[in-house]
Amino acid sequence: MRTLPILLACLISFLLSLSVHASPAQLATEPSVPELLTKLTKVKLNKAIPVLKALEKQGGEGILPLFKTMLKGQLYYIKKTKALVAVNKVDGEKVYSDIFSGNILESMSKSSVKKIRVNNKVRRFLRESIARTQLSATDAEARLKALSSLLSKLDAGIIQTIKTLKIQETDEEVLALMDVAIAMFTLSNSSDSKERLSAVYTLSGRLENEVRNLFVKVVEQERDAKIKVAAERALASIEQRIEKFQFVDKLFFGLSLGSVLLLAAIGLAITFGVMGVINMAHGEMIMLGAYTTYVVQLMMPNAIDYSLWVAIPLAFIVSGSVGVLIERGVIRHLHGRPLETLLATFGISLILQQLVRTVFSPLNRQVQAPSWMSGSLDINPVLSLTMNRLYILAFALLVFGLLLLILNKTSLGLNVRAVSQNRNMAKAMGIKTDRVDAMTFGLGSGIAGMAGVALSQLTNVGPNLGQAYIIDSFMVVVFGGVGNLWGTLVAGFSLGVANKFIEPITGAVLASILVLVFIILFIQKRPKGLFPQKGRAAE
């Protein structure tokens, strides 16, 4: 509703410009807005910027909706009339609307409209142009964003605007950033050394890239000794702070890699750790979970945001039941013969891969990210945590907690523990070990399926998805100690963090090699992993 007056204002300005159009003298010198708009539909991509510049000059704020639609790549024109329209996709249906009024137009055939192409240069111009007008936006968040995007492009005109806007600014963050912009401009352009020195003080402690780069430049080129010293000191303190945040960043990367490892390995920790079955098809259970996500998204293309909530339980059921099938059909008959089990499950893994290849084609499938999982949480200019990683970290911990609960608080858990500790004794007590085996295997596989849903958000959904994670999963389980869930948790996170701290020094290739070498040495020393099982159960 609030946008209505603005839209009206646009319309009026638009009409005004139309009336300006009428005077022929004006027409000869500068083309009017409607003329420019038609020109926009004809001009070649590399000649579009002059037209846009003229539009910005002529149209003022009224042109903003046009620029915004164009930036989003939703600007089309009707081939016949050359009129511009915005094309939005709502619930999978194309909706055509007028750019300036926002009125929904009748739907048109796809061939009657043509898209107005944009490239990086145009996008950059549009973004800057929008930022210039957004400086006086009503939303503080928008003002802040506009200001920070202008920091690298400060000139006298912008500073003047900022100074006038500053008088009525109320938001503290915006005010601070305005001061930064003014100080940056003073430091690089003023000749008054006192003013510049105070600018250095205003700027010290700010984490913005632009501020740091300015200081680097000042330290290199400054002639005034006082300012140079102050700048050096400011730069050192900024760098110290940045280093601190980068440490946090690395830790987060490590934890998030750890959470992926944990998710991939936790199902295996049950089948391999508790049941002692070396399941080479574990990776394919993950893959099935990821494909379930894909199928779910195919079924509900208009509700991608909720698709994961449907996919998680469904993936558990799909992978879980395949797991039960494998256990009943193959592994049960190979009980106590680890080598044969290994070979048989390896065969199953190949069969499942080829099956997926035939059914879904060997190409990767596209799994969309729900909007709430994209983007990042910006804490400051140096530190930002990506949303999808945060969610997956939380999800991994949740799954881990649930699993602990199942194993420790339910009768199934009790049975599982009993069978894994002493199969014959459990049998003698009347536990149906066969059933427990199938349920355990199903549980492990189902959890792998849930991991697949999470991984579909990070990596390729293709026939080879499982292979990429099977080695890592075994590594985590062996390192953590077979049969110990807590061990898997600690192992997953410590391997993740170690990997991320080594990687910047040695590169990704060497980092994973080093981690492997470390595990080999560790296993030599402690063959039973970090947390070996104790007592008679371990025999």
Binding site: N119, N120, R123, V216, S384, N464, A508
Partner: protein
């Protein structure tokens, strides 16, 4: 509905492969070997090329075949296993007696095939962009050499986007390493400081890009315009681009130009966060030309899927096949030596509205296009070379190969002829 479609495709696929296997070998056919992985990691890319060759053969047969004989495909599956490529080549040439081979994707597989194909004097068309530094008498390279892809892309970034800092990121194997060596030498020759070049390698299928992307962000945040030149291969691209999007790196800040990402790779990806990133190829599906429209229509009918896309290696296969067919007709025989000589200088139309010429060094002349990724997964051309660029087998920017040329016509007839010492090194490739 969906299930029915899937079932149908399964049945069709099964019957198609049975047909290929069961085709009775007759003497009055010309045999065409298809050596592309249909299983394993490379199946994702190579299956498409197998289908392209089969489509081309079908079309040629509709036109009456070659020299009055029908063409007969012999499809094998080297299963993304490099030594198996060599074995299957031997099998195809000595047992199946194929007259020509279309195949390979990775450089590793091509290197495995080379000794066999030279020993048995076969003929291979290799349709993928590669690192150069090779020219064999028995191989025709219809993909791009580095000077037809990497170097022009860097030129574009340097001149049009005014890039001053460079991240060369690649997967850790022969193609990225050689290409990056060429690029680094080229950048240094253009006056770029070594401090402004960051080189990074990652393993195959790398999926955790957090720290590398954050390093790139830091490297790019130091005041100079930065671009990433990516030779990251295959599957690893998807998580890489996802991470770029999530960490908020847009194409306007740090553009990524990729040499291994085409329409097919993009079709498995949510492209919204990637809009504006670049790719350099010699062909894009979006190029408007009559030949291209016909090719796309044929492909969609052949594969019975309206959503399938076309890509650069498919165009290279198309050009290679047409050149071979034309050369066979010109030579009047399928004998390898005669066809090899007939191929040099052959011209066929390419799909972007120009003509492809087979040069003396067994490489093609191609236009170089740079495209920006659009939100529909297509690439829109933003820059192209004037006319075509001749493929250079030996890079001019590497110290070891500066003086080498390849020329398979008399009197040189050598794949690595040293112009300074006027000697052929004797090594065949």
């Amino acid at each position: 509905m969906k299930l029915k479609k899937i079932l149908k495709s399964v049945v069709l696929g099964a019957s198609a492969s049975m047909f290929a296997m069961g085709a009775i070998a007759a003497d009055d056919t010309i045999k065409v070997g298809v050596l592309h992985s249909l299983s394993g990691t490379m199946a994702i890319s190579e299956t498409t090329l197998k289908d392209t060759v089969l489509m081309m053969i079908e079309e040629q047969n509709k036109k009456g075949g070659l020299l009055g004989k029908k063409l007969e495909p012999v499809v094998v599956d080297p299963a993304s296993n490099w030594p198996l490529f060599a074995e299957k080549t031997r099998e195809l040439i000595s047992k199946d007696k194929v007259d020509v081979l279309f195949g390979c994707w990775t450089s590793s597989s091509r290197k495995a095939v080379l000794p066999v194909i030279e020993e048995l004097n076969g003929l291979l068309f290799y349709p993928v962009q590669y690192e150069g530094e090779e020219s064999s008498k028995n191989v025709f390279y219809t993909g791009a050499a580095p000077n037809q892809q990497a170097v022009p892309a860097v030129d574009y970034l340097m001149n049009d986007l005014e890039v001053e800092r460079w991240v060369l990121a690649g997967t850790d194997y022969v193609y990225p390493r050689t290409t990056n060596k060429v690029l680094e030498a080229y950048l240094v020759s253009k006056g770029v400081d070594k401090k402004d070049i960051m080189i990074n390698y990652t393993p195959f299928g790398h999926s955790d890009w957090q720290s590398i992307v954050s390093d790139i962000k830091k490297f790019g945040g130091e005041g100079k315009k930065t671009a990433v030149v990516s030779t990251i291969n295959g599957d690893a691209n998807v998580p890489f681009y996802k991470e770029l999007g999530n960490q908020g790196i847009s194409a306007e800040d740090i553009p990524v130009v990729a040499f291994s990402v085409g329409e097919e790779e993009l079709s498995g990806l949510d492209t919204k966060p990637l809009v504006g990133h670049l790719a350099a190829w010699n062909y894009f599906q979006s190029v408007e030309s009559e030949a291209n429209e016909a090719f796309i229509a044929n492909w969609k009918t052949y594969i019975k899927d309206d959503k399938r896309v076309t890509n650069d290696p498919m165009e290279a296969t198309y050009i290679g096949f047409n050149m071979w067919a034309k050369a066979v007709e010109k030579a009047g025989t399928t004998d390898v030596d005669t066809v090899e000589q007939a191929l040099i200088g052959i011209t066929v139309p390419n799909l972007t509205g120009g003509t492809a010429v087979m040069n003396k060094n067994h490489h093609l002349s191609k236009p170089v296009l740079i495209g920006e990724i659009q939100d529909d997964g297509q690439l829109e051309v933003v820059w192209e070379t004037n006319g075509t660029v001749i493929g250079d087998a030996w890079s001019n920017y590497l110290p070891g190969s500066k003086d080498l040329i390849a020329d398979w016509t008399a009197p040189v007839s050598c794949g690595n002829f040293n112009t300074k010492t006027a000697k052929c090194s004797g090594q065949n490739f």
